[in-house]
């Protein structure tokens, strides 16, 4: 894990395929990009090569990460950082670790996850969330109802477990796109 340069600094992303340019985008591609968080991002412009899948994925991602009620946003972000650490996605972990810190002002939790791994000591509620996220990422086929018991013990309700599941699932998706269509570009001076 130390070979991967997980960071709380902003990381850029460089595509391995030519991204669609805003000048040459078809009206459909332009509409999908305008619906993305950042029309000019190289990542979304790369995905715009297959515009119909991008047009479905953008509202799916938004609904999983940002729709109100249910699991707190910070806890969704934390789950996605855990998934990204396990899958080795330096870019995704940087983006979502920073969102977690913005929401919680607790960078020490991220630093502990980066330094000691996902088994680092955490308060019970976060421990249960992290354990579920890790197992659903690594070995979904071995999971049983018993894996919900720690979440219930710290008080998660049905909607929170539903939201946690989808956040973990969404980053099984995001980490695969991000790491196999391009690569992270580290900030200057990063170790």
């Amino acid at each position: 894990m130390n070979a991967k340069r997980f960071t709380l600094e902003a990381v850029e992303w460089a595509p391995w395929l030519p991204p669609v340019t805003l000048q040459t985008a078809t009206p459909k591609q332009r509409a999908a990009l305008d619906n993305s968080p950042q029309a000019n991002s190289a990542y979304f412009r790369t995905l715009a090569n297959d515009v119909d899948s991008l047009a479905e994925r953008l509202p799916l991602f938004h609904a999983v990460m940002y729709v109100p009620r249910g699991l707190k946003r910070a806890e969704r972000e934390l789950a996605t950082v855990v998934v990204s650490i396990i899958n080795g996605c330096v870019y995704c972990s940087s983006v979502h670790a920073r969102r977690f810190v913005e929401l919680t002002k607790q960078p020490e939790i991220i630093r502990a996850l980066y330094k000691q791994g996902v088994d680092t000591k955490l308060e019970p509620r976060l421990r249960a969330i992290v354990d579920y996220a890790a197992k659903l990422t690594r070995e979904p086929a071995t999971m049983t109802v018993a894996d919900l018991a720690p979440l219930r013990a710290v008080g998660l309700d049905d909607l929170e477990i539903h939201d946690l599941t989808n956040a973990v699932a969404m980053f099984a998706n995001a980490n695969r796109l991000m790491q196999t269509l391009g690569e992270p570009v580290m900030p200057e001076g990063a170790a």
Binding site: C89, T144, I161, H162, D163, N173, T180
Partner: protein, 158 residues
């Protein structure tokens, strides 16, 4: 174009969630997730314009991801879809695609720029490579979403 059999919601049918059940009502609290999970499935597996990645190849890819992930229900669904469409021709192109699929599914952090060249060499263009990667990423998502939902469903009947 091959049409999927009418499935109102693939995840619920695979897990065996009855319409109107507690779990179905739970999912209905997140209507955009339900809609765009099914929508992603439909545009990736049965696109109106498949470009250079055929419907049979898309089904083959989805079967492989579900099998590597050991999800019995999804593997069964995609095997039926593949059988309906007839498998794509055996050979270097299918082998190259499936090698890449195994990498993206099981070890996404090990992919490299050279993988893209290998895919281009068997005839995939930029759009096809993005579509291929989206299929793998989507089924990887679906496996986790289906697993978590199934746990909630099982918990309810205990």
């Amino acid at each position: 174009m091959t049409q999927l059999p009418e499935t109102a919601d693939l995840l619920e049918s695979i897990i065996g969630v009855a319409p109107g059940s507690a779990l179905s009502q739970l999912r209905a609290q997140r209507p955009d997730i339900v809609r765009h999970t099914q929508g992603s499935h439909d545009v990736l597996l049965s696109p109106v314009d498949p470009g250079g990645l055929s419907p049979a190849e898309r089904a083959l890819v989805a079967v492989r991801v579900a099998e590597i992930s050991a999800h019995v229900g999804l593997a069964g669904h995609y095997r039926s879809l593949l059988a309906e469409r007839g498998g794509p021709p055996h050979g270097e192109r299918a082998n190259t695609i499936l090698r890449h699929v195994a990498c993206v599914t099981a070890a996404p952090g090990t992919a490299s720029h050279e993988h893209i060249d290998t895919l281009r060499a068997v005839g995939l263009d930029a759009r096809d490579i993005v579509a291929l990667t989206q299929v793998v990423a989507f089924v990887s998502y679906q496996v986790r979403a289906a697993t978590g939902l199934a746990l909630l469903a099982q918990e309810k009947v205990q």
